[in-house]
Amino acid sequence: MSRADIIFLLPHLMLTLGAVLVMMAIAVRRNHFAVYVLTCLTLIVALYFLPKTASLPHNVGVLFVVDGLGVFNTMIIMLAALAVALMSYAYFDTREERTGEYYMLFILATFGACIMVISGHFVSFFLGLEILSVSLYGMIAYLRKRERSDEAGIKYLILAAFSSAFLLFGMALIYAATGDMTFEGLSGYFSAFDELPILVMTGVGLVVVGAGFKLSVVPFHMWTPDVYEGAPAPVAAFISTISKGATMVLLVRFFLAIDGFRFPVVLTIFTVISIASMVVGNILALRQQNVKRILAYSSIAHFGYLLVAFIAADELGVEAVNFYLVAYFATMLGAFGVVTVLSHPERDAELLDDYRGLLWSRPALATVFVVTLLSLAGIPLTAGFVAKFYLLASGISTNQWLLVILLVVNSIVGLFYYIRIVAVMFDSAEEREARPAGYVGNFATLLILVVLLVWFGVSPQGLIDVIRNLVGVG
């Protein structure tokens, strides 16, 4: 490893350093606040050391490609992780006396996601994914005294292990056919094919199964609502944003490298997955009474929408994917942030009844939730609208008319269940038990997220320019 390589990997090195420091801190003395501050500092320092744009792209050995796409998404992931960390403090402060391990797993999971977005090799792809999954097993089942946490943990453990097996087998088949595991080398082999050989096609299909599990697109979505329901609210926020976003970026990088959408069979697979995710996600959400499960189904539908831009796979499509991820991250973090703030020590605020009359009892919090729900639904003046508009633009520019029409129809169906939550919050107030006191970190995070949502919704040009500059470099 040369000196330059180390400089380009500094954010990742800082994260590993942070994980080790947290471990040492726990060994000396267990103090929740100290560990929490250390975690936030780690993320801030790692953000500070992000490589400068002018020096991109840079290859670190064969394993990593530090380019604009990678750096931009590393930044987004770390910022999202910071938001989740700020929410976690208030959440775990009232619940579990042993909190140190959570932050170690949390930093490691973030590290795994950051490795995924810059990996240009099957080995780093797989190791990053596994670091993320293995940390998540512990985080999902962290509150062991709760009824559903073991169920969620075991479900995620078995299914994630199973999907990893698919992924590995797919990689092995592609390697067997081409003899190369770097994305760069594979792009050369794939450009020689006019049609995919059956061995490579099977390999690509198995990789899609493995990644599809992490993205929780239909038909690999069955675990999502159960795990979101059983996991602590901040962890559910982590899974729905960072884990999915990192996988999406990796898929974009892989399919751009092999130019996968040249092959009709790949196009068909992703079109079917996209349509199925939009339709199934929205229909299953319609009759849900549980807010965490609604958010889970909504995230399934959103990745169906996102695949429309992914299938476009041109410059506009990649921009749209990045913009959508930013808007989706901010929205989901805001929604789960509200769930976190409202949660009682014994159980999360997941029932629709927990939100009845919220607008009258806690107007500020309700406003935040309304903004995030409207953004999820894609109402104008929120980031969700611009993001969806971007998706439509990229879909239309590549003539994916079926997908575009279904996207619009499904957005309308989606409105129904988002508005239903809003309607419940407008209901007349009733006497409620006292809610847990708020923490400054929570409210600051929620405030920033809402400001961002509205800002990106009203004037998205700044963010679009940043994305265009960075992604254009790569």
């Binding site: 797993l105 490795i115 780093s124 596994e130 512990g138």
Partner: protein
């Protein structure tokens, strides 16, 4: 069909049969015996494919260290009186005859290879310890470090989840006690 392929397919079949039996056994010890056979068969597969170092590691690390560790844990969990009789029942002929037959097949293969004076396998080149070491500590150095972090995540998660669950007294029972 040449003998290399025959050996490859035989040991591959043994690995598949043994692994299916691992999953279908109800008794942990029975499953473990088949697991060992499965690892040994995989080692032969590696050897035939031209990776003698990986084959040796498969035997030493998986069949040796890891399975022995699992057996230790199971034995330590069963320290009661009836455990002794249970352990006796674990090693009746009906238990070891299945793994024994599968091992005998692998043994026959090894004997054949030894008597034939060794063979090169059907790989274009053998990957020995030197090549494995070179690539692990050359281009894949960071991958080795990543595996370290992966193990760290696994250890911390297992440590947290494996801690003894605190006894939760039901609130109604608590009330009757008072």
């Amino acid at each position: 069909m040449n003998t290399d392929l025959l050996i490859f397919f035989t040991s591959g079949a043994v690995a598949i049969v043994a692994t299916i039996l691992v999953i279908t056994q109800y008794n942990m010890i029975h499953a473990l015996l088949y697991l060992i056979v499965s690892f040994l068969a995989l080692a032969v597969v590696f050897y035939v494919l031209g990776a003698p170092f990986a084959a040796a590691l498969e035997v030493i690390v998986y069949a040796g260290a890891i399975v022995v560790l699992i057996i230790f844990v199971i034995m330590m969990l069963n320290l009661k009186k009836d455990a002794e009789e249970q352990e006796k029942s674990w090693l009746t002929p009906s238990v070891w005859i299945g793994p024994g037959i599968l091992c005998a097949i692998l043994m026959a293969e090894i004997l054949y290879v030894l008597l034939a004076g060794g063979f090169e396998g059907n790989a274009t080149q053998a990957v020995g310890a030197r090549e494995v070491g070179r690539s692990l500590y050359g281009p894949y150095l960071i991958a080795v470090e990543l595996s370290g972090l992966l193990l760290m995540a696994g250890t911390i998660g297992a440590y947290h989840l494996g801690r003894q669950r605190r006894k939760v007294i039901h609130r109604f029972l608590e009330m009757t006690d008072e």
